[in-house]
């Protein structure tokens, strides 16, 4: 191998912050179902702590031997609303506590799957789970939850949309920071390794290893070398870089899967930023030629980036899955934070951007007094973009209790901090309170 290639690889890791964002082990809990809740939870604890007992050890070993940072080790489980439905418990907080305890024992960073899929309606387990979310997520540190409220095939469950606006407000009233552990989806995917939205889908194997890659810094550095070149060259450069980044994900996933004796699932081809300087999707867009993210042209530049990442990544690995696209979480991206602080990026532009990338209004702080119906309106808008365009969209907003526009809320570590953003003050309450379902969209006449 050429010296140049070795140096480039080392530079990608050490200077451009290329890393594996997460190795996530998906574990099915269907075989833990029991009509006695405490028995079910014991089975869940036992299965999790047995199945994933070597996850952290193997990840640390890969990190040491290959010199690739693996930022998070995570677990996703079958949506708890399904697993717990057979038991007679009134709420499912104890299930979240069991997940927390297992995650703590294993030393994993996060565990996802305190989830419900209610795009068309709610079974009794879904209702209990959604009602349990505020207490469950505020009393645990590692547990993540998600609720899918719409899909292209089913339409949008507006009763659930209404409910989730209220749940987010309730959770924020207890602890606003806990809201980062809750995401509301449309077209949720079953093999997503990223949090807070990871759950182990019903069509998945008993256990699986999924990998989420990172690497915005690598893409930005590569683009610096083609400054001023035509946009075709930008696309080609992103493709080539995405290829290399994804190869690393594929390789690490395979090594981990083999060591853990668990099938390898997918690589999630996402550009996942962190608040560290030089690890920002916003900075890529600015390198492409925008004075600031949020400027006219932002949606087009993001569409180009998102598409080129997929084109480059698809050939680099055997199976692509998860969310696969550029993430634009505000608090986790130093460039996004800066753009919001300078007034260059607003919610409306972010919403437009979510139509062409993964995943949605993510890690956005809004004033603490934002009404529940307004949050439901935001969820409905995002769900509509996902449902109509046949893509995953999501809302992870944080109503910052007692805070107003201009204040900020700190999440810590790779989750960063978010400036509180202004929300359109007009009320969608009458629309939201109608309830019912928005019918599934027509799949022809695509204008």
């Amino acid at each position: 191998m050429e010296t140049k290639q070795i140096l480039e690889t080392i530079q990608m890791i050490s200077e451009e912050k290329l890393d594996i964002r997460t190795i996530t082990m998906g574990i099915s809990l269907f075989d833990c179902i029991d009509s006695d809740g405490s028995k079910a939870r014991q089975k869940i604890y036992d299965k999790l702590t047995t199945s994933a007992k070597d996850l952290v050890k193997v990840a640390n070993q890969i990190e040491a031997e290959y010199g690739v940072p693996i930022v998070n080790k995570r677990i996703s489980v079958t949506p708890i609303s399904m697993v717990a439905a057979a038991c007679h418990d009134d709420n499912y907080v104890a299930y979240a506590q069991t997940m927390e305890k297992a995650a703590e024992t294993l030393g994993v960073d996060l565990i996802g799957g305190f989830s419900a899929l209610v795009q068309k309606g709610e079974q009794s387990g879904d209702q209990k789970l959604i009602d349990s979310i505020p207490q469950a997520l505020s009393e645990t540190k590692r547990v993540c939850g998600s609720v899918n409220v719409g899909s292209t095939r089913a339409g949008i469950n507006m009763d659930a949309v209404k409910q989730m606006g209220r749940v987010i407000k309730e959770l924020a009233a207890i602890d606003p920071v806990s809201c980062m552990s809750l995401v509301v989806f449309a077209n949720a995917v079953e093999d997503n390794p990223f949090m807070a939205g990871a759950f182990h889908g019903v069509g998945e194997a008993d256990k699986v290893i999924n990998v989420g890659i990172s690497g915005p810094g690598v893409v930005k550095r590569a683009l610096e070398k083609v400054s001023g070149a035509p946009i075709d060259k930008v696309s080609e450069t992103i493709k080539k870089t995405a290829f290399k980044v994804t190869r690393m994900g594929q390789f690490v996933g395979n090594v981990a899967a083999k060591a853990l004796n668990v099938p390898f699932g997918i690589v999630d081809l996402s550009l996942a930023p962190t608040p560290n300087q030089g690890d920002s999707v916003a900075e890529i867009l600015e390198e492409i030629g925008l004075q600031s993210v949020g400027a006219p042209g932002t949606t087009a530049a993001l569409a180009l980036l998102n598409d080129a990442v997929k084109k480059g990544g698809v050939m680099a690995c055997e199976h692509v899955g998860g969310l696969s696209g550029a993430f634009i979480p505000v608090s986790e991206d130093s460039g996004m934070i800066k753009a919001v602080e300078y007034g260059n990026l607003n919610l409306e532009k972010l919403e437009a951007m979510t139509a062409v990338c993964s995943v949605g209004l993510d890690m956005i702080a809004i004033p603490g007094d934002t009404p529940a119906e307004t949050i439901s309106g935001m969820i409905a808008d995002e769900a509509a973009i996902g449902v109509i365009n046949n893509k995953t969209t999501a809302v992870r907003v944080i109503p910052a209790a007692g805070k107003q526009v201009g204040d900020q809320i700190d999440f810590g570590g790779i989750f960063g901090y978010a400036p509180v953003m202004p929300v359109n003050p007009n009320s969608p309450a009458k629309f939201v309170n109608r309830g019912g379902r928005i019918p599934a969209p027509i799949h022809s006449f695509k204008n």
């Binding site: 140096l7 080392i10 990608m12 031997e65 290959y66 290399k244 190869r247 390789f251």
Partner: protein, 89 residues
Amino acid sequence: MKAVITVIGHDQVGIVATVSQQLAELQVNITDISQTLMHGEFTMMLMGEWDENNVKFNVVQQSLTALGQRVGLDIHIQRQELFDAIQKL
């Protein structure tokens, strides 16, 4: 076992000798060696090969890290497969 060893630091007398002597003691065969300046720093790359049944990876790694600390150099070792995965089709 094949690994890429990188040595980065201020240029000084005897870097090649010090590192290669340590590798010889560990029974690591050097199959390729090159050096260059990266951002003004001396950078040496070695391809090493050894039998993992005799010497474990972490033994080589710890030994090289300790050597690096003693002589003021940054020495990293990574298994070669990663480089092949990223750079080769």
